[in-house]
Amino acid sequence: MLFYKLRKANDEINELYRHQGYTIALLGNPNVGKSSVFNVMTGMKQHTGNWPGKTVELATGVFSYRNQLHHIVDLPGIYSLLTHSSEEEVSRDFICFEDCDVCVVVCDATMLERNLNLALQVMEITDHVVIAVNMMDEAKKKNICINLDALSSLLQVRVVGISARNRDGFEELKDAIMQTACKKESKKNVVEYPELEKSIQRITQNIHTTFMNKRFLALKLLDSQVHTERFHRYILNIDEIIDIVNEEKQMLQEKGIYDRFEEIIVNALQQKAYEISEKCFIINDNKYLDKDMKLDRIVTHKIWGYGLMLILLAIVFWITIQGANIPSDLLSRMFMHIEMWLHEQCAYFHVNSFLEGIFVDGMIKISGWVISVMLPPMAIFFPMFTLLEDFGYLPRVAFNLDGFFQKANTCGKQALTMAMGFGCNAVGVSGARIMNSPRERLIAILTNTFMPCNGRFPMLISIVTMFFSGIFINPWNGVFSSIILTVIILFSVMLTLGISRLLSNTILKGIPSSFTLELPPYRKPEVKKVIIRSIFDRTLFVLGRAVSVAIPAGIVIWLLGNIEFHNLTLLMHVSNFLDPLARLMGLDGVILLAFILGFPANEIVVPIMIMIYMSNSTIMEISDLTVLKSLFIDNGWTWITAICTLIFTIAHFPCATTILTIKKETQSWKWTCISFLLPTIVGIILCIGIHAGIDLILLLFHL
């Protein structure tokens, strides 16, 4: 009864919610601060970055105005409604077919003319448009003056100057939205197309439609590039109209106009945008691009450009590794105390030792381990990455590296997903959404695991330090480890490019899609927001998935290490079984088994090796590298083992968190399986090949 009442109340609220307010669509060119506007309006903070074309899924939120709730939808950033990429179709369909009361077109005050182009196109569909000229503060700094009143009277819509960064002008914007929502439609033409007007008129006069704007409909029907089927159900006399449209197309064809169809439309829009911007956009100082240009010249320099990239990368790693040390230590100590306390409690209540082992030494220990080694580096890496993103540096990286990706038949944006992969492969995989071509996106997803993530760095560094540095250097202190990492990273970048090329010549055949990239102006990042957002959006999200895999894995590892069969633990049986293959790869059974059991998180691979070598019943760590090295050497490690282990660390199956993410992103078991098998096979082949190669060389030279 109570349940029924609650549900009824809930339904009533939902109903109220649905009917009360207006639906407002937010659209604009990429990188005009649309998402920042959305954030300020709703208070629900969606992540925004200085990266063109970021919003792919629609973000929705609510805001209140005079005690009434209104919906607001953040549409993908687009340059126009004429092109037919998926983002543009999403935006156009939303404005055309959804019940959208007001369209707010967000414009960049510093690039008004290009932004007006989109505004005019939106105004062709609906009258209910508000122009929000964002970045008024930035325009002021660049000595740009915009006459908002003139703009408003020329366009005949409300124009509001705002600054999302300073939260300026939002009350006015809300007022303008509300006034526009109740405005009546007027039937004035936004842009005239002299050569097409006759045809447009003939169609609009004959059409019977439920669609709001006949003129727009006529234009779309005439356009050979538009899939007009979606509009057909709104047309009552469809057969008649199709005939008329075909006749008009024929007529335009004969006059030789139809071949220039898009040119006529684009030129008319552009001309109009130019005229308007001439009247209300005044640049007092033409050199406003200069500061950016100087920086750009360094950032994209043939030598300094690459140098800066490597230096920044090294700095980011250094800060991550150095900074993660202390919080990691604190966390692991905290978990140790929890474990000890739990052991005491178990002893006090006489809990069965088998259950105690599964619960405390299995579940709690492994998931605690994963949290304490995974959380701090990610919480440091991603904010730094996001700062670079907000500053506008990352599109320049894509620009610098695009030549290499072109040779691999992919797209420069892959450089960005790779960089995210350094932080966490799962984040890199979901970051591949920024790529427009599905083929290139799949390549980016499949090859992301070749980028060693935060979970694999410590292992890479300690192996290199133990076996190749000669002098003992504490891996956590020192530029040396950063240099080693950079070398390893170059290897993984080359591997990624090679495999990408291989994929685009085999199972993902195709030519590189045309690729345009906008380099946004450099902007001061909003530090506080960046830190909060990147921790919540990326770090905690990944950590949640990782822990959900670590808990069952902890149980499995404990069981394998503690169930004995013929006087040997199951762990030893499995490791002996794997040994022949592992030996062929230059590893041993224990190493291979550690990688397999490290499937939930790469951080536990070394602790599992130690656990097996020392015949311990649970994972453990040896912080002194000399002790660790002698343990490894006692168990038959040589420098060849170390090389093969390094290679297999870079090229093996992605961790469970990443696999889950790949499944979610590709929606396909096939690609998930391939993403598992591809790097594993590459790793096995590389290890066997290099092991055999080294053996052969040693044999030939009688070493």
């Binding site: 340059y79 092109t83 690039m111 040119e263 552009q270 620009f399 590296l401 030549g403 290499f404 345009t516």
Partner: protein, 72 residues
């Protein structure tokens, strides 16, 4: 003249685009329209792209796409 032969910092006017229609429209949206003047201002160190100053924005396009743009 094809756009890829134009040296850096030389302002040119676009004559025609010879891309497939989706790319042509994309370029037009970005301001690569007949009659507009553009200036190549940067070259990618990996030889993949060049940046153009177009309508106050900086747009990078690939060399293969430059070859299909006639300028004066």
């Amino acid at each position: 003249m094809k756009l890829n032969y134009i040296p850096l910092y030389q302002e040119v006017t676009i004559q025609s685009l010879h891309h497939n229609i989706p790319m042509k429209r994309r370029l037009m949206d970005l301001g690569f329209i007949k009659g507009n003047s553009i200036i190549p201002i940067m070259k990618s160190p990996s030889n993949g792209m060049r940046v153009y100053l177009v309508k106050g924005g900086k747009i990078a396009i690939r060399i293969d796409d430059e070859k299909k743009i006639e300028v004066l």
